[in-house]
Amino acid sequence: MSRRLRATALAGALTLAISGCGGVGGGGDSGGGATKGSGALSTMGFGLSDEIAKTRVDAFKKDHPDVQLQITEGAFDEQQFLSAVASGNPPDLVYMDRKLIGTYAKRGSIQPLTDCVEKQKIDLGQYRQAAKDQVTLDGTVYGIPEFSQVRVLYLNEALLKQAGLTADDVNVADWASLPALNTKLAKVSGGRLSRIGIDPKIPEFLPMWAKANGAEMISADGAKANLTDPKVVEALTTGVKLIQDQGGWGKFKSFRDTFDFFGAENPLAKNQIAAWPMEEWFLNQAAKNSPKAELVVKPFVDRQGKPLSMSNGQAWVVTKGAKNPEAACAFVKQMTATDTWFAAAKARAEARKAANLPFTGVWTGNTAADKKIFDELYQPTGNKRFDDAVATIREAQDIAFAMPASPAGAEFDKAWTDAVNRVLSGQAQPAEALARAQQEATAALDKAAG
């Protein structure tokens, strides 16, 4: 059997596994009686890909010599995780996108960390509020946040100059001015797009555009969709128009698909894009690959001109049925502690220095760690553009919002991204597409609330 009824077979296999093992979580939250700080500890979804990860893991190993840490390297995989849970043999810890936590928490596949926080004396106050919102469902904390990614507005000043503009002329608060600005910056000739003026980054950033327009796409408790709000419709309409004015979605996307944000031939260096909101990590890439680029980083702003950003990132969760929850708790505490982050950032700074590259900081979900890193370790690079950018990102970290944890987060995301895609593909108008998304999201959220 190659693909024949693969899902059927897997579904059955999982059931057989469950029936053989008596279900998930039978052992309760406290696990198999392992003593604190000893025994085997397994993780999933995490990798030792760089000095930030290695330094922190080494610190844990050094302080917990009796714990046999088993890191199964690789990105989080839903199938792998669910199969492990269903077979009654989940890893102790999983490293996953924070937006997934609500769904798994609601279904009971991950543990509330109330006891963990209390026993390990983890100071939740040190974590960023946006990150905490994403790991908290119905007032209960289910995850400990790691990195914090925020969105800022990148501008290619060389292209602005060519158009007779300055960075101040790019005013994201004034939506009415954006189409004209976009037309001025974009380069479309002979039916071919060779430079993007403004990339609104939709579908991904629609929640940020909606928030800038004063609308939340989902209620604070993650239980009610608000996709038909006229402000959400207006945000989508605005973003889609910016793309349509540059030759339409087909040309726009195909041109953007050729970008390599991780190399020397990035779109900033190749003058392929003038203005775009993006995650803060591109600053590190730009500093590394295009130190001479005329980059300006500004905060994304709402329609009143107030800085705004959207946050996302990963978190550690302890699975229901974890065999060593105490060691798991000790691990997440140490991995996200201020001193551990500082040591990791120091290793990163040294690695950058050895490679003769600028160190532009490490952005964590821990405010105290960030403060220590930027107060004690970070040194201005001497390149005003990058130094100003770092300051902008620091401010964005402090004001960022996040989509709250939702019991049907994956289905909610699918509903609104499908809506945006239908509009971009010309299959529906914004209001119509979002009305359908509202129905789909509401049905999923109501079912999950059960």
């Binding site: 899902a7 059927t8 296999a13 999982l14 059931t15 669910l82 895609n421």
Partner: protein, 316 residues
């Protein structure tokens, strides 16, 4: 002295001890497959049939829900859309693969001593991992810079938006699927090489032209292979997953959050329901619906085959 001879029972011969021993050993050697089939295919299929009548999120114990999942199958527009897309794909893919493969096999048969080389060349793409094929075709189908639209531009044709225009997404996927027609080519080539030469010689003597030879000798003689590939390609196309999932749903790095309703295949929808939205019970019902559809299509094909397929040695 008269001896009584017991006549053998018609249709049933008494097996010798040797035959019985051989049969026992046959079962012993078959046992690994039988056990594997029961544990890894039949068991899970039966389990999934039961799951299809439950509400099951993989994490908590299944709860009996009767026919709810099947009612939802009927009312869910996404199911209808994905099924429609899949059937549309199969309707394009299967005839195209068969026609092009047959054409290539006929050409290969004439190549002579280079045949081995070309056979390998045509088969090599089949060895390419499906994920790599998906990524490769995202690049090839790029509207502005893809090789396909660049080629069309040389002919003065403004190529379509293969990956974003809903009307062109499916033709783009079908184009991609032709990448791996090598196995069908090989099957046809083998069949063509088995057509007895004396049949062509007899046809020549009867004054048959090239088309008549192809129509009345070649096609009937390879009809068994044509039928086999019809069945296999139909089943495979109804289960299309990896390449399209890679192109439109599982590749955030190159695709961002863009996907298209036009690329929503049935098995992709099933997979997402099972593992992303944790509706394993509903996904099991979807799997059984697909199983029934495949069963019916195959049964119809087998029924019709008696009129069109010739097997050497059979009574007609």
């Amino acid at each position: 002295m008269a001896t009584t001879v017991t006549p053998p029972v018609p249709g049933r011969r008494r097996r010798t001890p040797l035959a019985r021993r051989e049969a026992r050993w046959a079962y012993v050697f078959l046992a690994p497959w039988i056990v594997g089939f029961l544990v890894f295919t039949a068991g899970p299929m039966i389990a999934s049939l039961w799951l299809s009548f439950t509400e099951y999120d993989v994490i908590n114990a299944p709860r009996w829900s009767g026919l709810d999942n099947y009612r939802q199958l009927v009312s869910d527009p996404q199911v209808a859309r994905s099924l429609g897309n899949t059937v549309y794909y199969a309707a394009l893919h299967v005839p195209l693969v068969m026609l092009i493969s047959l054409g290539l096999a006929l050409l290969l048969k004439r190549v002579g001593r280079w045949q081995g080389f070309f056979r390998t060349v045509f088969y090599l793409p089949v060895m390419t991992p499906a994920v790599a094929v998906g990524i490769l075709f995202l690049l090839l189908l790029n509207t502005q810079d893809g090789l396909i639209n660049r080629g069309l531009a040389l002919l003065g044709i403004d190529g379509p938006s293969w990956t974003t225009d809903p009307d062109w997404v499916m033709p783009g996927i079908v184009l991609m699927s032709l990448w791996s027609l090598g196995s069908t080519v090989i099957i046809y080539l083998a069949a063509l090489q088995n057509v007895p030469r004396d049949l062509y010689e007899a046809a020549d003597l009867d004054g048959a032209g090239a088309w008549a030879r192809f129509r009345h000798v070649t096609l009937p003689m390879i009809s068994g292979s044509l039928f086999f590939t019809l069945i296999v390609n139909t089943i495979a196309s109804l289960q299309m997953f990896t390449e399209v999932y890679t192109m439109y749903f599982g590749n955030r790095q190159t695709q961002g959050s863009f996907n298209s309703d036009a690329a929503s295949f049935y098995v992709i929808h099933l997979f997402r329901e099972a593992f992303q939205f944790l509706h394993m019970g509903f996904a099991s019902a979807m799997a059984w619906l697909l199983f029934l559809i495949i069963l019916i299509i195959t049964a119809v094909q087998v029924k019709l085959s008696s009129r069109f397929v010739y097997y050497e040695g059979e009574d007609r």
